[in-house]
Symmetry: C2
Subunit: 353 residues, 2 copies
DNA sequence: CTGCCAAGGGAAATCGATTACCCTCTTGCG
DNA sequence: CGCAAGAGGGTAATCGATTTCCCTTGGCAG
């Protein structure tokens, strides 16, 4: 970590001249005990040191400002204190917020987060999975996983995996934390139906195994139950990861229809932002002439996007929920999917149409 | 990493029964060479293996799907492939975007990001600094550092440190990457002055050694040069980290003044969002009756906040710039501050007042 | 023919912490 | 009194990869 790497001259005596603070050997030497005893005191192994010895070791630790090196420990235990978090798209503020929540909760457990952005690409995800494995991570958390060979490997090997917001594409029974996307979609349908609106449109990005897929399922199921032919509802989408642009372009297509929708359900807030812009450019009043529904409920919505009805994803609850799930997994349990409570905030309760 | 930790029964033969894929010993055995030779082939040490031997080793690597374990390597080299990124506040989308850019660039170098959120707290930052050190990180990148004892230690020890967007609070000559906040502040002043506006207000969060401090400096310097008494300009601030709320409350106070400002300079976009909301609640037209300036230029601004003039911080350029700086530092150079180009986007060119 | 150097490659030390195994005392109990 | 159990603590193996010494062989110049 220092600038002149200079590894030519290893330290003669144990730990002396170490760059990285004190080593266990130094602590042991200072306390006049063996490294074994020092290690046991530090790790609180009972019946292995007299009160007086333990005190000497603790004093040495304090004097030297010793902190156990994570690397040596990880090598011996074949397990580090790192938890890998693989997010599909950090540019999405919703995923960033979840990552932040995870980080904070892991810290409370003495764990460290290593954060990766897979950009929704299987090859990148695989590269990261292998690297996390090489780091002997204690668990891997996928905030939006994609199907990939290495994912199959680690699943088969019994590694501790948690899938957030998007179920394991390869095994629906894998541990899951997130909102109930199907129920949330149905809830939007409910709000629309009870207001009698029928000119409904949908905007989405890729639906391939994403949360959007389930959101749409819930929405359509409920609409269909009310006698609406969902197959004929106008929909628009687009390629890429930039939801805002997809929303803008998709809305443009919806507006070209002979009978444009009056209520547009966007499967993410970002899509709604882009769509909003397009609607305004078309001279439409929002939410007077066209209203929007979104998902995630970005915290800025109440401040500068009060036209957007959105399903609040409780980012802050993800970290604690995931940590709780991890602990169950480490105890050997096989916990059921953990659904966090979402809430649909109606900022424009009166819908046009 | 697996569920039954079960370390009681160590593998009898080297690497057999390993949970984590192949080890170097297995590769060496399969290729019929020593681990030393295998290691040298894998690391491309010249003149240490015949072409034929090298080929056998590479074949064994491919057969076994071997990947070097990062932990063993880190222990031996006293340096891991991890780079610690300590961000002051991940809830700020601007910092999250920078972290994302850093992550992507580090990946290009075969490095891994470990991301921490210090919440602007010295004690949390210290805890993370020590943990990163225990991980033998190759460098630490501070996206908004606060003054703290452990920071002084690592600086004194010559660890590789990079300060992003906020200079090292303890040593202004430490490596820096970010926009020129002073110049950006001055640029806003320039735009305001050339339109003849004099009823100027300022909203900011804590200024203590933050980027805001320098932004304000540049703004005031330029205003003062134009004969404006900056000391008497209305300003508002508030405690905490939630810039939106601070902006909302601060704007409330500005609007209570006998002569409320017509142009409000917010030292971050989030402050402007909160202030916008308050202005609208007061029945003011934005930007007709009161206009706003912000910093960071959140990517959503052009879509749903077209009333906001903002200084674009080129998040995407941070990663490459930081990696370039790191490489200079690792070569032993002492690079000067690296200023990224910012750009003030005027979305409401006509200012009220 | 001798000495030297380079190429090729192996044995073993090393990084730091954990832990199995062993040894030595006490102490308590039959 | 004898002996088992447990407290207290040291020695050394171990995790996986890197790297320092070595050793051997050939080739080539002197």
């Amino acid at each position: 970590m220092r600038q002149p790497p200079d590894r030519r001259q290893p330290a003669a005596r144990p730990g002396v001249d170490r760059r990285n603070g004190a080593s266990l050997a130094m602590v042991a030497a200072r306390a006049g005990v063996s490294v074994a005893t020092a290690s046991r005191v530090i790790n609180g192994v009972a019946n292995k040191a007299s009160a007086e010895t333990a005190e000497r070791v603790r004093a040495a630790v304090a004097d030297l400002g010793y902190r156990p090196g994570s690397v040596g420990r990880a090598l011996r235990r074949q397990e580090s204190r790192i938890v890998g978090v693989l997010a599909a798209n950090l540019a999405n503020p919703s995923m960033a917020a979840i990552a932040s929540s995870i980080e904070w909760s892991l810290r409370g457990e003495g764990l460290v987060m290593s954060l990766c952005d897979t950009h929704e690409r299987a090859d990148v995800q695989d590269e990261y999975i292998r690297e996390m494995r090489a780091q002997l991570v204690r668990a891997m958390i996928f905030v939006g996983a994609v199907d990939s060979p290495a994912l199959d490997e680690v699943r088969a090997d019994g590694d501790t995996l948690v899938f957030v917001n998007r179920p394991d594409p390869g095994d629906p029974t894998s541990p899951y934390v997130g909102i109930d996307n199907v129920a949330a979609g149905a809830e939007i349908a409910e709000r629309i139906l009870e207001r009698g609106v029928r000119r409904i449109g949908v905007l989405h990005a890729s639906l391939d195994r994403t949360a959007g897929h389930w959101r749409l399922l819930g929405l359509f199921d409920r609409l269909q139950a009310a006698g609406i032919d969902t197959a004929s509802l106008p929909r628009a989408s687009g390629p890429g990861l930039d939801h805002i642009v997809i929303g803008y372009q998709g809305m443009a297509r919806l507006l070209e229809l002979p009978v444009p929708p009056r209520v547009v359900v966007c499967l993410s807030d970002l899509l709604a932002y882009g769509a909003y812009r397009r609607a305004r450019e078309a001279g439409l009043e929002v939410p007077g002439e066209v209203a929007f529904f979104g998902f995630d409920d970005n915290p800025i919505n109440p401040w500068i996007a009060d036209w957007l009805n959105s399903v609040r994803v409780p980012s802050d609850h993800y970290g604690p929920a995931i940590v709780a799930l991890l602990q169950q997994l480490w105890r050997g349990e096989r916990p059921p999917p953990l659904y966090l409570t979402h809430q649909l905030t109606m900022r424009s309760p009166r819908l046009p149409g």
